[in-house]
């Protein structure tokens, strides 16, 4: 075997360890009694297994409610972002209108503005609407994104002009072409963006912390933080909570993996 291949595998192995070690630590801590957790590094090789921490985390941390909140908020954010990004991307890719370039550049420029810079202004707007402690407060500021628009626009630009023309002759206007041709062909990019959008929405911390105070609207990441604060002695509770909060992402990746991999390879070979 060539040294290059060995080197490549060594690098991949190292990266895999770096990525998986924290996950492994969280999982093994979460499945052992609290007493064992202080025994570091012995805890990393579990001798017994208990599901008690998961039960306790759900009960004492009120995680069930938080998970539902996060689910609702994430679903609306992801749905909203995907829809607005597809529509905006379509306009930028296929529709001619005055000052298109300028508008698009301005749109992209918003990517340069860090979220922290807008947070105060957004907070005041939300407060002005009287939306503090509501789902709207958690969802509304995130319904459009320049990143998704850009990503999907690039995919749309890869759709050959001939297909646009063919669908016009086949009797389709903008909607028919969007639904029947453009979106299916851009599916890999849309899938990748969906995953990205989900991760960002699900893992939000600062904004939900600012705009929510009651359990009815708090999201799971904030729940985890308070779970950790309240259980300094029982580290296995926050660990179990983190594992629970990570499960949706795990299943999401599992589900989208097929699309993501296909997205990276399809179109590599002309034909």
């Amino acid at each position: 075997m060539a040294t290059r291949t060995i080197g490549r595998y060594a690098l991949l192995t190292f990266c895999a360890v770096v990525v998986f070690l924290p996950i492994y630590v969280a999982v093994v801590i979460a499945i052992q009694p609290a007493a064992r957790v202080v025994d570091f590094p012995g805890v990393l090789l579990p001798k017994s297994l208990t599901l008690e921490p998961f039960r306790n985390a759900m009960r004492s941390g009120n995680l069930g409610r938080y998970l539902v909140n996060s689910g609702v908020v994430t679903a609306f954010i992801v749905g909203g972002q995907v829809i607005t990004s597809i529509l905006a991307a379509y306009a930028f890719a296929f529709v001619q209108f005055p000052f298109k370039r300028v508008v698009f550049t301005l749109f992209l420029a918003t990517l340069m503005v860090p979220a922290e810079a807008t947070i105060v202004a957004n907070y005041e707007t939300i407060q002005h609407f009287g939306w503090l402690d509501s789902y709207q407060a958690l969802v509304m500021p995130f319904l459009a994104t320049a990143f998704g628009t850009f990503l999907i626009r690039q995919a749309f630009l890869g759709v050959p002009q001939d297909l646009r023309d063919a669908s016009a002759l086949d009797g389709y206007g903008h909607w028919g072409f969007l639904r029947g041709v453009a979106v299916p062909l851009a599916r890999p990019a849309i899938a990748a963006f969906t995953v990205f959008s989900f991760l960002l929405a699900w893992n939000q911390y600062l904004w939900p912390l600012l705009v929510t105070n009651d359990d009815a609207h708090r999201t799971v990441q904030i729940g985890l933080k308070s779970l950790a604060g309240a259980n300094v002695a029982n580290l296995n509770l926050p660990a179990a909570g983190a594992v629970i909060a990570g499960l949706p992402i795990f299943f999401l990746l599992l589900f989208f993996q097929r699309h993501l991999v296909r997205g990276l390879t399809s179109g590599a070979v002309k034909g």
Binding site: P160, A166, A168, L169, D170, Y172, G180, V181
Partner: protein, 336 residues
Amino acid sequence: MASVAFEHVTKRFGDVVAVEDLDLHVDDREFLVLLGPSGCGKSTALRMIAGLEEPTEGAIRIGEHRVDGVDPKDRDLAMVFQSYALYPHKSVRQNIEFPLRSRKVPPAERTQLVQDAAGQLGLSTLLDRKPRELSGGQRQRVALARAIVRRPAVFLMDEPLSNLDANMRTATRAELVELHQRLGTTFVYVTHDQVEAMTMATRVAVMSEGSLQQLGVPQEVYDRPANVFVAQFIGSPPMNVVPGPVAAPLGVGRDDVVVGIRPEHLMIGTAGISAIVRVVESLGHERHVLCEADGHRLIVRCPAHGDAPVEGDAVHLSARPEHLHLFDASSGQRVA
């Protein structure tokens, strides 16, 4: 069933004049071939019929109606693209039925029509494949099937054979002619290949740099090219064109003309234009003798077998008077 007419149509893209003052009437049921070199505006002309481009000036009629501003889908025509433009994510069946779906054809009828179209083009066993699982020839048939499935009044084809190999192209040419006869609809067919034009067209429209050069049945265009461009564009090898004085030994007594002679009409003998043989090419079924006279190149078409000159021979080239084409030296237009 419909005729198609360009009425003094000009199309500009910024400073580029793609089509200039095109005036052309395509009769109902005609197989009209738009022929011309790359960039002469053939595709642009076709796309204007389709409604994918709007004329800058002039009007287009389909049947009795002016179609300015009419959507492509309301023009009752179908188009086969050079790239075939199949939807890569749809199966052959879905590709063919896509134009029917938009027109709300009921499912049962749709299935029947798709089967008919697929059957006519020998695609019945391929209906569940994706375009990427088909050969080039099969893809081309799917594109045709998608065009014929809803029986439009006019078919537009933009170099549909250019991605096929030589054998497939010959076979498909004949099939297209047959398809045209069977459907009895108007075809407007774009190509830069003069063989396609000669073999399939009921009439050819030769274009150059955006303008129509000549319109006529293929044999007439071949026999009496309207100008030097058409003379040299149609025919393989192309027509020999020499200045009047060079052709003086053939009895051309004018200096203000250029003289065209088809390679098959030049004879090697003892009288006529004196020339030196430079190259002899054998094509198997015939030989091309490339000669040089007074710095001008002349090609003579000879039988594959029998005596032929060899490189370096001094020869005389002659042609019968009725085989000489005279064009005005400055305008290039035919004078006799």
